[in-house]
């Protein structure tokens, strides 16, 4: 799909990508992936100036890539144009910060109490809206300074070494979820450790900062290459991090023979946690000592776009529907519209909500007790748009195990 960049010649203008694009669906003025991708790319390659503010409005969901019957790298062509797009000064400053959630996280967690208090204050959000064009409609996730550490290897747990890539959200906002990931890995016989890495770089790419994204790729590749060389697999629990490790690093480091090779090796050894557990299950190795359920739990599953783009099927959905007492439906209602930092931007907030409306409607009509989805920002959007609790599937699966199954 995105392996060579002459693929624009494959574009037959069938417009399948436009029918799949969440932004086109919600907002007709958006020119759509066909126009911003292959069509304008022909001009751009001839050196013709055709910069457009609309480039900023691409969600980076990759649905156009999946819809294309002719394997055109539609979203990649848009992402490259986005990286050379000229922004207004205010957006430039705001997006500089949004491109660096790792830096933000480190700053905010110096004194998380103060950060959370300040971010919750109406006047502060008013100022952020006026000066930075960050929408006051949303609340920021709370920061916490509790560090996520590699668990002490128990004597009973000498299983396969895996390296958990936590990503910014788990590291700075919800380390508890990271602990649950580690527990789930241990319950299933793995010997997990936490990677000492920073941001994966997806937010940098999404905000058109290819230089920063490359820096993140280099740092991450350097820090994980050794473990992968030693035979360890990398595990992600955030679908966007997983997507980046699998596709982004190798793309960004294409020009560097040595780093590019390392990036490819990391990609080939990166597994989403659900994917890893489903592989265990397929091999008959999943720990299935589940507790008989006391009450029925009615859940709805939302597949994040960056989960779909990984091409692994629906591992979490298939895992959770085997848990006793869990009744789960796959919403299959499109993109949530959040796309990480996109939904926080004042000028993009209305589109973000319009995109999500189909999903919100789907959730309302299936009336679940909670929605499960792997992506932290999808969770934020779902709670914001519906008021229904959204959680990571890790928490559902971990809860299902008997106390005795835990290490």
């Amino acid at each position: 799909m995105r392996k060579d960049d002459v693929s624009l010649d494959n574009c037959l203008k069938c417009a399948d990508c436009n029918t799949a694009c969440p932004v086109v669906t919600a907002h007709p003025a958006y020119p759509g992936p066909k126009r911003l991708g292959p069509e304008l790319e022909r001009m751009r390659r001839e050196g013709i100036q055709c910069d457009s503010d609309w480039l900023e409005y691409c969600l980076g969901c990759h649905r156009c890539d999946l819809a294309c019957p002719n394997e055109v790298n539609v979203s990649e062509l848009i992402a490259r144009a986005k990286a050379t797009h000229t922004k207004t000064p205010v957006r430039k400053i705001r997006d500089w910060w949004f491109a660096r959630p790792g830096l933000l996280g480190r700053l905010m967690t110096i004194a998380p109490g103060i950060s959370n208090f300040a971010l919750g204050l109406k006047p502060v959000r008013g100022v952020m809206s006026a000066t930075m064009k960050i929408t006051p409609e949303r609340t920021f996730p709370a920061y916490t300074s509790a560090p996520l550490r590699t668990p002490e290897a128990g004597t009973a747990n000498q299983g396969e070494r895996v390296v958990f890539f936590p990503g910014c959200y788990i590291q700075y906002n919800e380390p508890e979820l990271g602990c649950h990931v580690l527990q789930l890995l241990q319950i299933n016989g793995f010997n997990p450790e936490v990677a000492s890495t920073g941001c994966c770089g997806v937010p940098s790419l999404a905000n058109g900062d290819a230089v920063e994204a490359r820096k993140r790729a280099v740092a991450n590749v350097e820090s994980m290459a050794e473990a992968v060389d030693a035979g360890a697999r990398i595990v992600t629990a955030c679908s966007s991090c997983g997507h980046m490790l699998k596709t982004g690093f190798a793309n960004l480091l294409e020009g560097d023979a040595e780093l590019g090779k390392k990036a490819e090796k990391i990609a080939a050894n990166t597994f989403d946690l659900g994917e890893l557990l489903m592989i265990q299950q397929d091999a008959g190795k999943l720990n299935t000592r589940f507790e008989p359920a006391a009450t029925k739990l009615k859940l709805a599953y939302h597949a994040p776009c960056h989960q779909k783009s990984q091409g692994t099927g629906r591992p979490w959905y298939n895992l959770l529907r085997q848990v006793p007492g869990v009744e789960i439906v796959d919403l299959n209602a499109g993109c949530c519209g959040m796309s990480g930092t996109y939904g926080f931007k004042e000028e993009k907030y209305p589109i973000s909500m319009q995109v999500g409306s189909e999903l919100f409607e789907g959730i309302r009509s299936s009336a679940p007790q909670a929605v499960v989805t792997e992506c932290a920002t999808c969770q934020m959007q779902i709670e914001h748009g519906t008021g229904v609790k959204a959680m990571h599937p890790v928490d559902v699966l971990l809860n299902a195990y008997k106390e005795s199954a835990r290490v």
């Binding site: 399948d16 086109v24 819809a67 002719n70 629906r314 189909e358």
Partner: protein, 368 residues
Amino acid sequence: MKNVTSTHFDVIVAGAGVAGITSAAVAASRGLRVALVSTGPGSFVLGAGCVEVQNMDRNTPSLEEAIGFFRNFTELAGCGFRGGLEEKRYVPTILGSFQTVSMAPFYMWNGDPSAASQVAVVGIRGLSTFDSNFVAERLAYHASKLERGSKYIAYEIDLSIEEDTVPGTLQFGNRYDRDARFRQELRDALKPIATKANAIILPGILGLKSGQIEIDWLENQLGCLICELPTLPPSIPGVRLFNRLEARLRKAGVEVFSGFPIQKMEIEDRRYKGIMLDAPARPLHLTSETMILATGPFSGKLMGAPWSGVNRDLHPLDSTGAVVAENIYAAGAILHNSKAHGGNAMAILTGYASGMLAAGVGVQYAQG
């Protein structure tokens, strides 16, 4: 605990066109665990999915059951087909000609000139891909040649346009799905015309996800038959048909892998084992007991063997005439049978037959 594996299936169907979708539906209805693998959504974006049986022998074994199954399946999907083997209708096109069909989705079926005598051809101001004057004039000409007495009168309605946009069928289709006010606006614009006609021909704009309920609503409100014509790509009625059928397959438990082409098919000792999907980072390995190849006319290379057609059981043959693998079946346009390949009827027939064969149900089937 149910043991649901995520990478092993009873049947993998490759290709999400009419043939692939039909065979996946048949296999699932027989209780098999099915995966549907595709690079893109068939060719629905180009057309509307009408069915022609004209070029086929009506007595072809299994044809009637296959058509019956397809009708039932599309009905359940909310996108029912009208017509049947013995029917012959004239469905209008945006070029003002008539296409002869045996079956069509319900929203096209009423365009036949014998179904209505006063037909309003309604364009939308600013929508350049549908010229109602042209269409009405040409349809009147062609209807008279068919000795049908229908009158075609062109109208143009005004619909609100989103700011900074050019009117397009995709915009209207999305708004029909998402915006109740738009649906009412369309109804109100058509109401005065509906009193003067017993059928309305519209460019295809009635939603990409809508089904019988949403389109019947408009027809009932107007008290007038509606026929929607697919315009230049994207064809809204075609995309709608795909969306409805795919959603129905998911509901029936079919696991859908879309967006990733097959990199390799594993065949050992004339037995198919599995496929490799070209997923990011590393191929996704899927295995199944049987494989149904419905990948269209351009992709015969997948098996790594020269292709010389199929035998009576739909098993593909290599250049020596030997069966490539006993657990592969072929369906749809990949069969290259130009003599009998007519407007989806062959796709439905071979899709049906391959699904039944994969389920171990003997189907009497003869090609052409």
